[in-house]
């Protein structure tokens, strides 16, 4: 029963952080290249345009949700299970979500990379 709770919390972490990353990435593509913007309009334009973006706000909120899910997961499960499982599943989830929602061209090269990094994180943190 406890492991069911832990895994539900892990799934919640993964979903929330994937949603957060995708929204944040989408928001920053709407904002545009901040280096160019900084040089042409100054740093305040960068800050104003980023903080004024609704997707940015939603993305940060989703990341906050994922952080609180992590706290719950850690109170139910072992850190050596929760941290690597959540981190590596987030990598796979992000590759899928980036392909579907952000229309990134996730080719074979990037699939292999996502798999390798996910496996590596699981091995390192485990």
């Amino acid at each position: 029963m406890k492991s069911l709770y832990t895994w539900s919390a892990i799934v919640a972490i993964v979903i929330a952080s994937v949603v957060g990353d995708v929204l944040l990435s989408h928001a920053m593509k709407q904002v545009g290249d901040v280096g160019t913007l900084w040089r042409s309009r100054g740093v305040f334009a960068v800050v104003r345009r980023t903080l004024g973006n609704f997707n940015f706000f939603l993305g940060v909120s989703a990341m906050a949700v994922s952080f609180f899910c992590l706290l719950f997961a850690l109170s139910w499960g072992d850190v050596s299970l929760v941290a690597p499982a959540a981190a590596s599943l987030t990598f796979i989830g992000n590759a899928v979500a980036a392909k579907i929602f952000l229309h990134e061209r996730v080719d074979r090269r990037r699939w292999i990379a996502a798999g390798l990094v996910a496996a590596g994180v699981a091995l390192l943190a485990g």
Binding site: F91, R109, L116, L123
Partner: protein, 181 residues
């Protein structure tokens, strides 16, 4: 000041931002974890413990470093794919393991070395490819376009008004890209 490089391509400053993502994530996490071990456990019923935790210098520096991580991470996402930036964050785990081995002289198990090899290999795979694939009219992947001038004209012209050009050219780009690699 390296403004001679074209906008949109990877230049020294952008690699510096990616290095910042990696270093700030790794150092922020380790400072925070070091500080929290000094502070001890915080229960949900005694939230005032959070205040004394933030007053711990290690925790405070960790939070500042994680803010710096978030700034560099959002900056990187403004000009690169999510699937390009994320592996860079995981390179921080590798740095931490190497610091543990060669600076702190801790034991790193063979399984962890395997993990380091996996992450490094994965990041190498990504770094060899283009950093932005969402926009077909992007200038970061010129070779496939030069190989087929007619299609290059197509995607350059149809970037704004003709979505069908993207549909046609996208698969051909990924196919021709696999040949040299």
């Amino acid at each position: 000041m390296k403004d001679g490089t074209p906008e949109g391509a990877m230049n020294f400053r952008k690699y510096l931002v990616l290095a910042g993502v990696t270093v700030f994530a790794a150092s922020g996490d380790s400072m925070l974890s070091h500080g929290m071990k000094q502070v001890g456990g915080i229960s949900l019923h005694h939230l005032s413990g959070v205040i004394s935790a933030v007053l711990n210098p290690w925790v405070a520096i960790g939070i500042l470093l994680l803010l710096a991580f978030f700034a560099t991470y959002t900056a990187a996402l403004s000009w690169a794919d999510l699937t390009y930036v994320l592996p860079a964050t995981s390179l921080g785990y590798v740095i931490l393991a190497l610091v543990a081995r060669f600076v702190l002289h801790e034991h790193v198990s063979p399984l962890r070395w395997l993990g380091i090899a996996f992450i490094t290999g994965g990041v190498g795979f990504i770094a060899g490819g283009p950093e932005l694939t969402e926009r077909v009219q992007d200038s970061s992947a010129p070779p496939p376009r030069l190989a087929n001038p007619a299609r290059a004209f197509d995607s350059a012209q149809g970037g704004h008004g003709a979505p069908h050009a993207e549909v046609i050219s996208a698969p051909s780009v990924s196919r021709s890209e696999e040949i040299p690699s």
